[in-house]
């Protein structure tokens, strides 16, 4: 008997939901298993995503043009600088403009709740997808070469391929024997929305401070999402403050370049870790999104990498299906791993390096970064490469992420 579902996706976050939707559109019979309530979602407070151009292309290809137009705010440039905020640009400032790669923006900012809600709605309307809500995966076992996924509530579903998208250091993946390289940054990041007096003109700012980077990501002309990385000790203290007290602490870091500031909505914080799966696939299993790697948020690339996993995964299994191959066979899944592994490792290493270069107190690292910024701003091809990398337009781009 051929299994009822060709692919079972575990985890109904953004990567899992979008993957499910895309697989179904491509004609696969898919089931989505979500341990939470797919109808009643709880959102990370104040979180927003910087979607790269490639990620925007992906969402457009999947029919989310209207959502991007309604909720997305284009990022018209990125300014990276070092030192203390509010004291103006230091030397060694880096300006990345989309015109340098012939584009109008670097993608857009979108709030997590808007995107999740839109994706959830679309998925609910997709009658070809079977959603198992409030259901956990107990285990997955082989039975004569086919895979049986055992769910809570005593249900079992056979499948050809299990796509694991259940988040950082995948719970299911770990139980199935996937292991991770881990590093604790001993840092926490605070995120919240800040309204400001002057227009940000669509520019994103990244200030590298000795305690960790702070990013201002434009949600609208007069509001930004901040991602403020600091030592655990400082963030724990800041978390205890009320909004007014918090603003007093934020002002010196934020600076005055956008005029007076105020808080909008709740604040959230989380501790920062690097985790990286040692492998992404094995027979009938594949990891995607944060289940593969969780990187430092300073480059804002976590979701973009996850969506790229989903786009590549779709392309690989779709090609394999047209060819008549067994989509869960190791040779097929290794193509996905080969395509994604280098990208994952290089991103994790780059963000790890930047974080180290700007926060470490080892003598000489200041020289390294000043030299680095000097080199980056003065070598056009290198800078163009970095911009394309950040826009998700470098390397081997999956079909769904190409501009059309």
């Amino acid at each position: 008997m051929k299994p009822e579902f060709e692919i079972v996706v575990v985890g109904g976050g953004l990567v899992g939901s979008l993957l499910t939707h895309s697989l179904s559109r491509a004609g696969f019979k898919v089931a989505l298993i979500e341990k939470g309530d797919q109808q009643k979602r709880t959102f990370h407070t104040g979180r927003a995503f910087a979607l790269s151009l490639a990620s925007c292309n992906y969402l457009k290809a999947l029919g989310f043009v209207d959502i991007l137009e309604q909720y997305g705010n284009p990022i018209k440039g990125v300014i990276v600088t070092e030192g203390e905020a509010g004291k103006g640009s230091r030397e060694g400032i880096l300006e990345f403009m989309p015109s340098e790669i012939g584009e109008e923006s670097f993608g857009c900012m979108i709030q997590e709740e808007n995107l999740l809600e839109a994706v959830g709605e679309r998925l609910k309307k997709n009658k070809a997808v079977r959603i198992f809500s409030k259901t956990a995966v107990e285990d997955a076992v082989f039975d004569d070469g086919s895979l049986i996924v055992n769910l809570s509530k005593g249900k079992s579903i056979p499948t050809e391929l299990l796509a694991i998208c259940d988040g950082s250091q995948s719970n299911l993946g770990s139980r199935l024997g996937y292991s991770y390289i881990k590093k604790n940054y001993r840092q926490r990041a605070i995120t919240c929305t800040v309204r400001h007096e002057k227009s940000n003109e669509g520019l994103a700012y990244q200030f590298f401070m000795p305690t960790g980077p702070i990013a201002f990501l434009p949600l609208s002309d007069h509001s930004v999402c901040i991602v403020w990385t600091n030592t655990q000790k400082v963030v724990n203290r800041l978390d205890q403050l009320d909004n007014d007290q918090f603003l007093e602490e934020l002002r010196p870091a934020f600076g005055t370049f956008l005029g007076d500031i105020s808080l909008e909505g709740p604040r959230g914080s989380w501790s920062l870790e690097l985790s990286m799966a040692r492998k992404m696939v094995s027979a009938r299993f594949a990891l995607l999104g944060d289940a593969v790697r969780k990187i430092h948020p300073l480059a804002g690339q976590g979701l973009n990498l996850g969506l790229r996993d989903a786009a590549v995964f779709l392309e690989i299994v779709e090609t394999a299906k047209y060819r008549g191959e067994d989509i869960g066979f190791p040779t097929v899944l290794e193509r996905y791993q080969r395509w994604r592994m280098f990208d994952s490792v290089s991103f994790a290493a780059a963000t790890d390096f930047f974080n180290w270069a700007y926060t470490s107190s080892i003598p000489g690292n200041q020289l390294v970064r000043q030299l680095g910024t000097g080199i980056i701003s003065n070598i056009t091809p290198l800078k163009g490469y970095l911009i394309r990398e950040a826009a998700g337009l470098s390397g081997d781009i999956p079909e769904l992420m190409k501009n059309r």
């Binding site: 070469g145 086919s146 060819r323 008549g324 191959e325 067994d326 190791p330 040779t331």
Partner: protein, 257 residues
């Protein structure tokens, strides 16, 4: 189809030594990192070629579900079913045959586990050709270099085709380069294949294959090379390079048909 034979058939093309060799390797067929790793690496390229030839000849759309529905396909020397299974997934009625009994057992078991409907049988193309069964497509990949009498073998393949049928045959060229690559390189140096997998003397030059196909009433209409890139462990199709691995498509000659 039942082959009702009283006496043991004389199989001119079957090489007993080759049969025993493959019997002993049968367990390895579905291990992508095992003895048949090179075939697993080559499989996507082989499938791309076969699928595109079938698509063109029988006017099929590969993006449809079951694009090969209604086509009957015979896979000669099916081994563990590396090509047979994909053909079944694409919707064809597939018959896989092999002279090594263990291969057939492994292939049957594997297809059953995956819920694929494939008919496997331990027989030779010559035995099968004595029945009146015919196929739209006959596949014979990396087989002819293992048979004892290639000409006899091709006669039987030709007999197994319907009048509008298509014959796809791949093998290895016989020259200094193929000796270095397929024997010295693949078997001794890179250890991609077990030593003794191939007998270089049995490799067939494309022009020899063409002549034998002609004699068997088949018209070779396409010839492509398979080229291995050892740095990426990937195969690609070439219009020019037939020096080592190559693949051909033939149809029944007008004069005979």
């Amino acid at each position: 189809m039942t082959t009702n034979k009283q006496k043991a058939p004389i199989l001119k093309s079957v090489d007993e030594y080759e049969v025993r060799k493959f019997d002993s390797l049968a367990e390895e067929w579905w291990n992508p990192k095992g003895k048949f790793k090179p075939l697993h690496q080559m499989n996507p390229t082989r499938l791309d070629y076969i699928n595109s030839q079938i698509m063109l000849e029988f006017d099929r759309d590969l993006t449809e579900t079951f694009p090969f529905k209604g086509l009957s396909i015979l896979d000669i020397g099916c081994g563990g079913g590396l090509l047979t299974e994909p053909m079944a997934r694409l919707g064809a009625n597939v018959h896989g045959i092999d002279v090594a009994e263990k291969n057939v057992l492994v292939a049957k078991e594997h297809a059953r586990n995956l819920g694929l409907d494939i008919k496997y049988e331990k027989t030779s193309s010559e035995e099968l050709a004595e029945t009146d069964v015919k196929f739209d497509v006959v596949l014979c990949l990396e087989v002819i270099e293992h048979v004892h009498d290639p000409q006899e073998f091709l006669f039987s393949c030709s007999k197994l085709l319907t009048s509008g049928g298509m014959f796809i045959c791949s093998t290895l060229n016989r020259n200094a380069k193929s000796f270095m690559m397929a024997i010295v390189g693949a078997e001794y140096f890179l250890r991609m294949l077990p030593v003794g997998t191939h007998d270089w003397g049995k490799f067939v030059k494309p022009e020899e294959l063409k002549t034998m196909l002609d004699t068997a009433g088949l018209d070779m209409v396409d010839l492509k090379g398979f080229v291995y890139n050892p740095f990426f462990s990937e195969w690609s199709i070439s219009d020019r390079d037939f020096d080592v691995n190559y693949i051909t498509t033939s149809v029944i000659s007008e004069s005979v048909g």
